[in-house]
């Protein structure tokens, strides 16, 4: 894109600057639109599962429901509790929202269609993703109220627990792809199994890791059945209890941006990202970004489906799953995958 702006007669530095800013806007604005539409889609999914109609009043088929909600939230008064730590109370939703946005810098939508094509992209996602918990912790502490505080403690423990197994799962992918760069990871999946299936997930050695990653990504985004952070029957609304108006909306937007990111990561790491599912010439006629969005939509449906049907875990069950099942399992697969790769020396190649 830099070259395009240079052709308009800008100097190289200015062209780079304008290209980067427009790249950021090209990701952030559609993302916000996607969040609005995906909240609507999710409410429709839950409604369908519960044999209800869901939002159907605002606009055709209720499509504008999220925008109406956004407008309503925008017009509300921002209330700051008198005993809250004012500065931190206001910073917390901003942190959640900002971090949810900056992770997208390294997500590849197609070959070369990525804002920052850095060679440690996956580590960047891990590092920035692990910061997401600060929004919850700071909100919980700064609210100076007991329910948000419990929520903050739960969030801290849950995040640290599941990040361990996510780290190991990612190691298995990196071992096989031989790179930290997300585009190269996707390209390494081309014709991965039997020369025709695109995706590490089709590999029997990596399929269990894909499942562990899917479940862990639900835990990382605090979705049902792991939403103990905002368990409404115990903690009112968790860390968001004392928030109102736009500060509440920022939490909401950040949360759903993270959910979409996790859907994208599942697709990119295990199911071929922007590649079509089968390595057949004619399927490449469809642009890669469409394939990526289809896969993300599929995973989002799974997220909504699980949220509508699976009851919430107890906290000790959550910890048991993270530490006693996922951690040993992913550790075992790190050994198996690295052993297999050492024996067959196919690192970066097909199965």
């Amino acid at each position: 894109m830099t070259a395009f702006f240079e052709s308009l007669g800008m100097s190289h530095d200015w062209a780079w600057f304008v290209a980067t800013v427009s790249g950021i806007l090209l990701i952030a604005l559609p993302l916000m639109l996607a969040v609005a539409m995906i909240i609507y889609a999710e409410r429709k999914i839950w409604a369908a599962i519960a044999l209800r109609r869901g939002p159907n009043v605002v606009g055709p088929f209720g499509l504008l429901q999220s925008f109406a909600d956004g407008l309503k939230v925008f017009l509300k008064e921002t209330i700051i509790p008198s005993s809250a730590n004012k500065a931190l109370f206001l910073i917390a939703p901003i942190i959640t929202f900002t971090i949810a946005l900056i992770v997208w810098a390294v997500v590849p939508f197609d070959v070369g269609v990525v804002l920052a094509d850095i060679n440690i992209g996956l580590l960047y996602i891990l590092a920035v993703g692990s910061l997401g918990v600060y929004g919850v912790i700071i909100a919980g502490w700064a609210s100076n109220s007991k329910y948000p505080f419990f929520s903050a403690l739960r969030a801290a423990a849950q995040m640290v627990s599941y990040e361990v197994s996510i780290g190991f799962v990612i190691i298995t992918v990196i071992l096989w792809a031989g790179s930290f760069n997300l585009t190269e990871i996707v390209l390494a999946q081309e014709g991965h199994v039997l020369g025709i299936l695109n995706g590490f997930g089709f590999n029997p050695l990596l399929f269990p890791m894909a499942v562990v990653f899917l479940i862990s990504s639900m835990a990382e985004t605090f979705r049902t059945p792991f939403d103990l952070v905002e368990a409404e029957s115990e903690l009112v609304a968790g860390h968001q209890t004392e928030y109102s108006s736009m500060s509440f909306a920022l939490f909401w937007l950040g949360e759903y941006a993270n959910v979409i990111l996790m859907c994208g990561l599942n697709a990119i790491l295990f199911w071929g990202g922007f590649l079509p599912p089968l390595d057949i010439e004619i399927l490449y006629a469809v642009p890669g970004i469409i394939w990526l969005f289809l896969k993300m939509g599929l995973f989002f449906f799974v997220f909504g489906w699980v949220k509508a049907t699976v009851p919430r875990y107890r906290y000790d069950q959550l910890m048991r799953l993270g530490w006693k099942i996922f951690l040993p399992l992913s550790l075992l697969f790190v050994f198996l995958v690295s052993g297999w790769l050492m024996l067959t020396k196919t690192s970066g190649g097909a199965l």
């Binding site: 580590l123 700071i138 502490w141 990040e163 930290f180």
Partner: protein
Amino acid sequence: MIATIAFYLFASLTVLSALLVIFARNPVHSVLWLIVAFFNAAGLMLLLGAEFIAILLILVYVGAVAVLFLFIVMMLDIDFAKLRSGFTANLPFGLLIALVLLAEIVIAVTASRSGPIIGDKPVDTAQPNIIAFGDLLFSRYLVPFELSGLILLVAMIGAIVLTHRSRGDARGQNIHRQVNRDPEEAIRLTQPESGKGVEL
């Protein structure tokens, strides 16, 4: 030019937030300032071209260690005024530690000026430094690397052994037993006589 400005920005913010870690009245604020200091240190690493260390600094220190710090500090009710009262008593010891650290920094700086010590060949700046790390860690520094891993494992097991105490009356959930329960033994149908109840 921009790199120079960025360096001074990151460096001054690191020093400032490090000072605020000490001077903040509230322990939670101290930890938050510590996180800001980590961030700016990571920024300095990025300027040096050590992107792997920068990301690791954020991933390990900010993403895990500081979360646990914050967790502990938020739960404990620490009275900083009380801790501060021992300031003069601990001052000589603190100064000693500061002196040792200063000496180490001076030694490190002068030693690195006299030529490269790590690696026989100069570091190839073209390749990602994660590869350079891997090459050195798993060839020349394999034994120290594995040893440090072993020490960390021992420390972890030690911490668990020291703090774990089994209470006799703790009731756990045996999921295996629950799943394998058989309706035949779990349910008993009886016909109690009126006014007598059931023997369990």
